[in-house]
């Protein structure tokens, strides 16, 4: 799993946020479009793409996309 691909998959859960706003260091909760439904979609995307089950607490523990990537990587 590469972080570039993870960022692309993460970004594809959003409709209106420009791709250039999604970087490893992006604090995703600060994005205007962030919502509880997008949080659920990220969990479902990680399940579908990486066969990793994220818990609500895993999402809570991550502030940046890279931190979430590392959590997913640790569960592979």
């Amino acid at each position: 799993m590469e972080i570039k691909e993870f960022i692309e998959n993460f970004a594809s859960q959003f409709d209106d946020t420009p791709m250039e706003e999604f970087k490893a260091e992006t604090q995703f909760r600060d994005l205007d479009e962030w919502s509880s439904l997008i949080a659920l979609s990220i969990i479902a995307m990680v399940d579908e793409e990486y066969d990793v089950t994220l818990k609500g607490d895993d999402m809570k523990a991550a502030n940046t996309i890279e931190e979430l990537y590392q959590i997913v990587k640790s569960k592979l």
Binding site: L40, I43, K55, G56, D57, K60
Partner: protein, 199 residues
């Protein structure tokens, strides 16, 4: 597990997704006065991630199993006249929509439609059929980690009575619907939701 032998209770552990096992159990039991269909599973899945496998997994337990159990009870004439069937449906889907809940909601709306049809078909036999429709209840079903404890606490603010349900809140309503205290009720979806759907 019912172990009071003086009351001649029987217990069976079967896979509700196995229709042959349901059929075998139903043939084995005596005529009964009530049936509570309570098994259920869920997983929050936004629409773009729904798969046929996930629909099948959840609907098999939540919808097909109670349909088949009821079918075999009726076919084998194992329901007394009068008797009462209770389905555990949900406020979710039937009375309120929530994010990521589409597969579970469709299974419970299916139960709602089935419950009303069974109520109509079996009324001439004196067999009543109703459902309990709970909001969020403190059971392992809602504590699988998909939603954090913090998010659950926030969600409780949507409940005018200030808390999620307890299993006994639903159990007492089920007992009521099984008992003669509800003998003129059939085809009713009974909301037990701490006021959630008042808003």
């Amino acid at each position: 597990m019912l172990e009071n032998q003086h009351l001649n209770h029987l217990s069976y552990a079967i896979d509700l997704c196995d229709e042959a096992a349901i059929s075998t159990m139903v043939k084995d039991i005596p005529v009964i006065n009530g049936c509570s269909n309570n098994a259920g599973i869920t997983k929050l899945t936004p629409i773009q991630f729904i798969t046929p496998e996930e629909i099948e997994r959840i609907h098999k337990v939540n919808l097909v199993a109670p349909m088949m159990l009821t079918k075999h009870l009726v076919k084998c004439k194992k329901l007394a006249k009068p008797s009462s069937i209770v389905f555990t449906a949900s406020a979710g889907g039937v009375f309120v929509a929530s994010l990521g809940n589409a597969v579970y909601a469709t299974s419970k709306c299916g139960i709602d439609g089935y419950m009303r049809t069974v109520a109509l078909e079996l009324a001439p036999k004196g067999i009543r059929c109703n459902s309990v429709n709970p909001g969020m209840v403190e059971t392992p079903l809602i504590n699988r980690g998909q939603v954090s404890a913090e998010q659950h606490e926030k969600d409780k603010e949507n409940y005018p009575l200030g808390r999620y349900g307890k299993p006994e809140d639903v159990a007492f309503a089920t007992i009521y619907l099984l008992s003669d205290a509800s003998s003129w009720m059939t085809g009713t979806a009974l909301k037990i939701d701490g006021g959630l759907t008042l808003k």
